[in-house]
Amino acid sequence: MSHEEYLLCIIGMGLVTYLPRWLPLAFLAERDMPEIMEKWLSLIPACILSALVTQAVFIDPSTGSFQLFQKSFFAAIPTLAFAVITRSLGGTVIVGMLVYWIMGQF
């Protein structure tokens, strides 16, 4: 790929990435949505977070296969417990990293 083509490529990537980020904010934020749509959108964040977490915990990143008991699963249990008990985001991140790191030492 020539350097011109590379630049065009990343500009294209930037456009197709920016548009989905921009369109809803530009056109939904200024109007009232139907109640059912608001209900649906209010459920989306928890669903997205759950999808991201569950995937990270049970899918082995190096092979892309399902792993019930991998390092991230064992790190997630104390991390989740800490999050539920303390409700502290910063603490949760630190505890998660610490547990994950310690497990990597064995």
Binding site: M13, A26, L41, C47, V84
Partner: protein, 240 residues
């Protein structure tokens, strides 16, 4: 005036710290891979600034390395990043009354991580555009800087140092706990989690995020509707 509205930038900074840690953890290996795929440091900086979407940048670099041309890379990027449409739609509920230029600036920084942090804070109240933009743009700066640093450092930093690989998962977990209020949310997020693993095994890229969350949220709406109808029906029976 309370503390929170006095120090919006400070609030934004402290909320963004976990994102910075996570972006350093992903940004450095990205820079390493991009250098190996023969991208210059400037190429790396430009891509991180113009695209600003981690997973699609990894995919693009692997496609560059395998000699793909621009169009398939752009099309793949579009589908990988389409999930932000959902995130911006959810955020739109909380930013009514913000000017178009500010919204357009804010849109640039919508990533999985900034979305998760900002949406949680918006729904807890005491969060505004200043805080949200601070989160987005410091995260953006850290992303660009750490991808560039990765390009310079090569493989000097051993992978997995201090558990930074787990930083973003831990952050998502913490934010998920904030979201879990009530049995309906608990139910739909469990459904979404199960679906995400199934879809992740079946489909490429980030499709699992889009499909599992839209399906689970739709199930949630259907449940709410049928419950509401049942109650209506009961009330009607009562009256007659």
């Amino acid at each position: 005036m309370n503390m929170s509205s006095k120090w919006p930038t400070l609030q934004g900074l402290s909320a963004a710290i976990p994102i910075w840690v996570g972006y350093i953890a992903i940004g450095i290996p990205f820079g390493v891979l991009a250098r190996q795929a023969n991208l210059s440091i400037i190429d790396i900086a430009l891509m991180s600034a113009i695209v600003f979407a981690g997973s699609s940048q990894f995919i693009a670099v692997s496609m560059f390395a395998s000699g793909a041309s621009a169009l398939p890379i752009i099309i793949t990027t579009f589908f990988v990043n389409l999930r932000h449409l959902l995130m911006s739609s959810s955020l739109a509920l909380h930013v009514k009354g913000t000017s178009k230029p500010l919204l357009s600036l804010f849109a640039y920084g919508v990533t999985d991580e900034s979305f998760a942090v900002n949406l949680t804070r918006f729904s807890q109240g005491q969060w505004g555009m200043k805080q949200a933009l601070t989160v987005n743009h410091t995260a953006n700066f850290v992303w660009i800087a750490s991808t560039v640093a990765g390009g310079y450092l090569g493989n000097l930093i051993p992978q997995g140092t201090l558990g930074i690989d787990f930083a973003l998962s831990a952050m998502f977990l913490g934010l998920l706990v904030y979201q879990l209020k009530g049995s309906l949310i608990l139910l739909v997020s469990t459904i979404s989690g199960v679906l995400s693993v199934i879809f992740c095994l079946m489909l490429p890229g980030a499709w699992y995020v889009v499909l599992s969350s839209t399906i689970a949220a739709t199930i949630g709406v259907v449940i709410t509707r049928s419950n509401a109808n049942k109650h209506k029906g009961e009330r009607k029976n009562h009256v007659s």
